[in-house]
Symmetry: C2
DNA sequence: CGAATAATTGACTGAGATCAACCCCCGTGG
DNA sequence: CCACGGGGGTTGATCTCAGTCAATTATTCG
C-alpha cells in the first residue's frame, strides 16, 4: 500500500475524565436518554441516589458471576460489555457510550451478573443500587417506558446479531460490525468516518464471531477495495455505501 | 437401532384451541406473568382493550417489514418467532408459550416489525394496538416493570446465544438448544423429558445455527450415546446431566 | 395405496480456525 | 538518541469441521 500510516487518530485516554466534576453530574443525568423528559426537581432527586466512580482503561467494573447488584450509567468514556464461557472464550457484545446504562436491573436475592463490564478507555460512571433504581422507575413511569424501549432496541440488535452469526460469512459479518460501529461511534475524519474508539483486530474479531488472524485478512481485503482505512488500533470507513452492499448481496 | 418408533407423542393441534372461549379470556389474562399482581378491576379494564384471533399451524401473524403495529399475548398454542435475511436464510429465535408476549412495543410512526411471528400449532392470541398497550403500562407501573424484567431476561438469553454461536461447535450448540427447550417446553414422558412441541430437524437446525443434515447427524450421535430419544418431529431428553456436561467441557 | 414431507446417509469441498514465525510500531529508560 | 521489549498486526501452511449436493429411505396423511 502506498500510504504512510500515521499515529492513531483515536484517543484512548480522554483528558481529565477519570473523575466526573461533581458540579456537572446534574447536567450529565439530564442528558441521559431515559431521563430526558423529567423535570429539574426530579433530576435533582434522582441525582441524590447516584454515586460516581472512575476507572482506568482495562479495569473491571464487575465480572460475570459477581453477586453485587448495582445499576450504572456511563458518564464519560467507553465501556466494554463482554460475555464469556468457562474456558476463556469470550465475545464483545458492545461498546457503551455516555448516557447508556448497564449492570443489573434484577432486584431478587442471590442473582449474579450475566456479563462483564470493563473500562475500555478512562471512564467515569454514575451508579446506584438496583433497588434504588427500581424505586426511581416506579416513581417516574415515563422513565421506565424509556428504559423498556431501549432494552427492546438492544434485544432487536442482539437478535440481528444471532441472524448474522447464523447466516453470513466472515467478510459480511465484519462489514456489518464496522457499519454498526461507524453508525454509533463514527466521527468525520479525513474524508471518512473514523470509528472513535481504540479498536484492535482482536476486538473486531470478538465482535464478529471470528479470530484476530481472519479479521486481519478481511481488513486487508476491505482496505484494498478502498472501503476502509486502518492502522494500529483504529479503523475508518471511507465508503459506507459499498460496505453496505457487501452485506446485502446474497 | 433396536427401538420401534412410535407415532409422535407430541400434539400439533391442540383440541378446540382455534378460538378462545370468550368467557375464559379474563382467566387467561390473569395468568399472564406481567399482569399477575393486578387487581380484578384492573384486569377487567385491560381485558376491554384486547381482541382475540385464532390461527392455524403455519399461518403468519405478521411478517418482518410489515408496518402494522400491534401487541400480542399468546393465549393458547405455540408461536414461532423468526428472523430472516433478504435471501431467504432464516433463524428460529424462540417458541412462545401461553402467557408470553410478542409484537411491537414501538409507538412511533413509520416503524415496522423486525421479526416474523407464525403459528406453530393451532393458536389463540389476544391482541391490542401498541398505543393502547403503552397506555396500560403507563397506568400500571408494576406491570411495566414486569415487562421490563422479562425483556431483560430475553436480552440475556439472546446474548448467551451470541456467545454460543461464536464459541461452541455444532454438537454443543444443539445440546444447549435441547436443554433450553427441555427446560421451557419439557413434559415427563416414558422416563425422559419430552419437548412438547412438534420439532423437525430443520427447526432444531435453525435454532442452533446449522443445517438440517448436520442436525440429523448430531441427533443420531446423541441418541447412540443414550442422551436423547427421537423420532419424526419429536425429541425427548433422557439424560439431562450428561447433555449438560457436553456443553461444559472445553 | 400413493403423494408429500421428513429424515438419513454418503461423498465431496471449502471457508476459516489453528499454529507458528515474523514484523512493525511505540513507549521506555539507559 | 538509540537500544530494547512487548503488544498488536501480518502472513503462510495446514487441517478439520461442517456445509453442500444428491440419492435413498421412512413416515404420515388423504
Amino acid at each position: 500500500m502506498m500510504k504512510a500510516r500515521r499515529k492513531s487518530p483515536v484517543d484512548s485516554v480522554s483528558v481529565e475524565s477519570h473523575y466526573c466534576s461533581i458540579d456537572l453530574r446534574l447536567k450529565i443525568l439530564g442528558r441521559v436518554p431515559f431521563l430526558k423528559s423529567l423535570s429539574a426537581e426530579a433530576l435533582e432527586a434522582i441525582n441524590q441516589q447516584f454515586v460516581e466512580f472512575g476507572y482506568h482503561p482495562g479495569e473491571i467494573i464487575y465480572l460475570a458471576g459477581d453477586p453485587v447488584r448495582r445499576f450504572y450509567v456511563v458518564a464519560d468514556g467507553k465501556v466494554k460489555l463482554l460475555q464469556h464461557t468457562l474456558d476463556g472464550h469470550n465475545v464483545l457484545l458492545d461498546f457503551l457510550i455516555p448516557g447508556e446504562f448497564f449492570g443489573s436491573l434484577e432486584a431478587r436475592e442471590g442473582q449474579v451478573y450475566q456479563d462483564t463490564a470493563q473500562a475500555h478507555t478512562s471512564i467515569c460512571v454514575l451508579s446506584t443500587p438496583t433497588v434504588e433504581f427500581r424505586n426511581i422507575l416506579d416513581a417516574y413511569p415515563q422513565a421506565a417506558l424509556r428504559v423498556l424501549d431501549l432494552t427492546m432496541q438492544r434485544l432487536q440488535d442482539a437478535h440481528q446479531k444471532v441472524l448474522h452469526l447464523s447466516s453470513m460469512d466472515v467478510e459480511q459479518r465484519i462489514a456489518s460490525t464496522l457499519l454498526k460501529l461507524a453508525e454509533k461511534l463514527g466521527r468525520p475524519h479525513e474524508g471518512g468516518v473514523l470509528i472513535d474508539v481504540p479498536l484492535s483486530r482482536d476486538d473486531l474479531a470478538k465482535m464478529s464471531g471470528t479470530t484476530a488472524e481472519t479479521a486481519s485478512r478481511v481488513i486487508r481485503q476491505l482496505q484494498s477495495l478502498g472501503l476502509i482505512r486502518s492502522g494500529r488500533q483504529w479503523i475508518s470507513v471511507t465508503n459506507l455505501t459499498k460496505l453496505d452492499e457487501l452485506i446485502q448481496l446474497q
